[in-house]
């Protein structure tokens, strides 16, 4: 079958790879219908996530059709249209039973690296380096889904493929970001990053009771989407001092809840931005944290900072003093896909959230490298390039 493979830093190619096979009784094989690029893929592409190997199939946000199931799969059958969470749970360990699927004990078959670097191994993620399991990704014609009864959720009638694909990752990640904030009625929520996850976090914040949402980005087309689609107040950080504007918009208090949806490659300005880039390039720090620093600085006393932008290693100049002395609550994590997807599909069916506008660039898989180039360099207003491996 054809698949989009990581062949080195900033090098992707479409290759012939072996078809997946059922390896476990609880596996299913899914024919991929739609598979989206994600901002966190750029960290792989740019070489900031170690343990990638040449030939690894990338992609983790997808939907498709079940074509084969293992003997212990009971809730799915061939022909089912499903959306698959990007982060895998087993459904049986304590973390999964409590709904914290991204902390699953059993779905990362290569736990040694994480146990050494992080202290403990977390869940496996499709197409996201060998530290996260070495599981082949979804930019392929077919994919094996372990523990399919847990991780593949049937898509109800009335929800289009273009809506369902984002229920795999962007919608649940955005929802979890807002949920971790503990939003109360009347809260002002500031969201750093107006990509797919940030935009979905803005929708979620309103649905959970926020009175105002402020979108912080630098790309006019994304700020326009935040304003027009998500009803947020746009704030261009290249045109204004973020802290000053946020203080003005909140009567000097600062936002009650801040969501960081950018991650380890956030862009900075001036000397701080240059310093971060140089340190990361020289591998003196693994992650850049401009937006996280801004969020902690801007957040009101006693507020909450929720982090869903992906960080991988260590970062410099983390303002722990500000967080500690302002009594902030910091919450973070990879999304618990299986906990959220059924509920979010219901909300999509009800029309409360329609993520299909994220899909700006539908493309065949054969144009995968170009799709990533458009996405990475924000060409042609690309919010998400989405591949249809079947053609």
């Amino acid at each position: 079958m054809k698949a989009l493979c990581w062949e080195g830093v900033n090098e992707l190619s479409v290759e012939d790879v072996p078809d997946p096979e059922l390896l476990m009784a609880r596996d299913a094989i899914v024919r991929v219908g739609l598979s989206s690029v994600c901002g966190s893929d750029l960290h792989l592409l740019d070489g900031y996530v170690p343990t990638m190997r040449e030939g690894d199939v990338i992609g983790h946000e997808f939907m498709g059709e079940v074509v084969e199931v293992g003997s212990a799969v009971s809730r799915l059958r061939p022909g089912d249209r499903v959306v698959v969470g990007s982060v895998l749970g087993c459904g049986q360990c304590r973390f999964c039973r409590e709904g914290a699927f991204s902390l699953c004990d059993n779905t990362n078959p290569h736990p040694a690296v994480q146990e050494r670097v992080y202290g403990h191994a977390t869940a496996g993620i499709f197409g996201y380096s060998h530290a996260f399991g070495g599981l082949p990704g979804s930019h392929a014609e077919y994919i094996r889904v372990p523990f399919a009864d847990v991780n593949a959720v049937p898509v109800p009638e009335g929800i289009s493929d273009e809506q369902a694909v984002f229920a795999s990752d962007a919608v649940p990640t955005g929802w979890m970001a807002a949920e971790m904030c503990g939003i109360e009625p009347g809260d002002v929520v500031a969201v750093w990053g107006s990509g797919g996850v940030g935009l979905m976090a803005m929708h979620a914040a309103y649905l959970l009771g926020a009175s105002d949402v402020i979108a912080i980005d630098r790309l006019p087309e994304r700020l326009a989407l935040a304003e027009q689609k998500a009803g947020a107040i746009p704030l261009d950080y290249e045109q204004a001092d973020v802290a000053e504007v946020l203080a003005d918009l909140t009567g000097g208090r600062g936002p009650d809840r801040c969501i960081e949806a950018v991650g380890m490659e956030s862009h900075g300005q001036g000397i701080h931005g240059a310093y971060d880039k140089v340190k990361q390039a020289l591998r003196l720090q693994t992650d850049r944290s401009v937006s996280l620093r801004q969020a902690i600085h801007a957040c009101r006393k006693g507020g909450t900072v929720s982090i869903v932008g992906v960080f991988g290693g260590v970062l410099d100049k983390f303002p722990l003093g500000a967080a500690m002395n302002k009594g902030l609550t910091l919450r973070m994590g990879q999304q618990h896909a299986a906990s959220y997807i059924p509920m979010l599909l219901d909300r999509i069916a009800l029309g409360e959230i329609d993520p299909s506008y994220l899909l700006t660039h539908p493309m065949p898989l054969s144009e995968g490298p170009d799709g990533y180039d458009r996405f990475k360099n924000k060409r042609d207003g690309c919010v998400r390039a989405v591949f249809r491996p079947g053609g």
């Binding site: 493979c5 062949e7 190619s13 290759e15 012939d16 790879v17 072996p18 997946p20 096979e21 390896l23 476990m24 009784a25 609880r26 343990t51 190997r53 040449e54 030939g55 690894d56 199939v57 212990a72 087993c90 459904g91 049986q92 360990c93 304590r94 039973r97 004990d105 059993n106 779905t107 990362n108 078959p109 290569h110 736990p111 040694a112 690296v113 146990e115 050494r116 496996g124 060998h130 530290a131 399991g133 070495g134 599981l135 082949p136 094996r144 372990p146 523990f147």
Partner: protein, 205 residues
């Protein structure tokens, strides 16, 4: 700390220490490579300890060790030795129900064959059961396929085995990764072929 919780954790670590002492027992003077690790299984103690008595499950603690039950009911293990060969021996396995421990050791001259032990204890809170394991003797020649990321130390060997044991008890099977992801891609193969051609011809047409 809650007195009950303290008592439970003290009991667990005390039991683990006893097993370690019993395993090491008569081996003072020539310390073999020893791997130790612990893991928590989200199942009750009686279920976990009961599962260890199932044929084949115990051998999952030690990757590479293959357990067979002979007609007479005794356990035989095949163990890859350091030079890549395999050894086979009869083992004595002792299930100690009050202590929830399992010890296994080769009958007769232990030679290079592994001996080891497991102790189970109820974990505090609602975590389930702690399993503490120790394995003496050398690691197998080939690392287990599912955990090639780091140098295989005795501790890592036992850790991998315990993870597999936990997966079998909790989910019924060991999590596997597609072999294709460890294979070389077409792009890599093409590059290797080009490089080989270049080396062979020196760049001449």
């Amino acid at each position: 700390m809650d007195p009950k919780l303290h008592a439970i954790t003290t009991t667990a670590s005390s039991a683990a220490s006893k097993v370690v002492r019993r395993i090491r027992g008569d081996r003072s003077g020539s310390a073999p490579p020893t791997g130790t690790s612990a893991i928590t299984v989200h199942r009750p103690l009686d279920e976990v300890f009961g599962a260890l008595a199932e044929p084949g499950l115990l051998s999952r603690v030690v990757p590479g060790l293959t357990e067979e039950i002979t007609e007479s009911g005794s356990h035989r293990f095949t163990w890859p030795t350091g030079d890549g060969g395999t050894g086979s021996a009869e083992y004595r396995i002792t299930f100690d129900h009050p202590e929830c421990s399992v010890l296994w050791e080769p009958v007769g001259d232990p030679g290079p064959l592994p001996r080891g032990g497991i102790v189970c204890a109820a974990a505090p809170g609602a975590w389930g059961t702690e399993i503490h394991a120790q394995l003496d003797e050398t690691a197998p020649a080939d690392p287990p396929e599912t955990d090639q990321d780091l140098t295989l130390t005795p501790d890592r060997l036992v850790r991998t085995g315990l993870r597999h044991l936990k997966q079998v008890i909790e989910t019924g099977e060991v999590m596997l990764v597609d072999l294709s992801s460890a294979d070389r891609s077409a792009g890599q193969k093409r590059r290797t072929e080009k490089m080989s051609e270049l080396l062979r011809t020196g760049g001449r047409p």
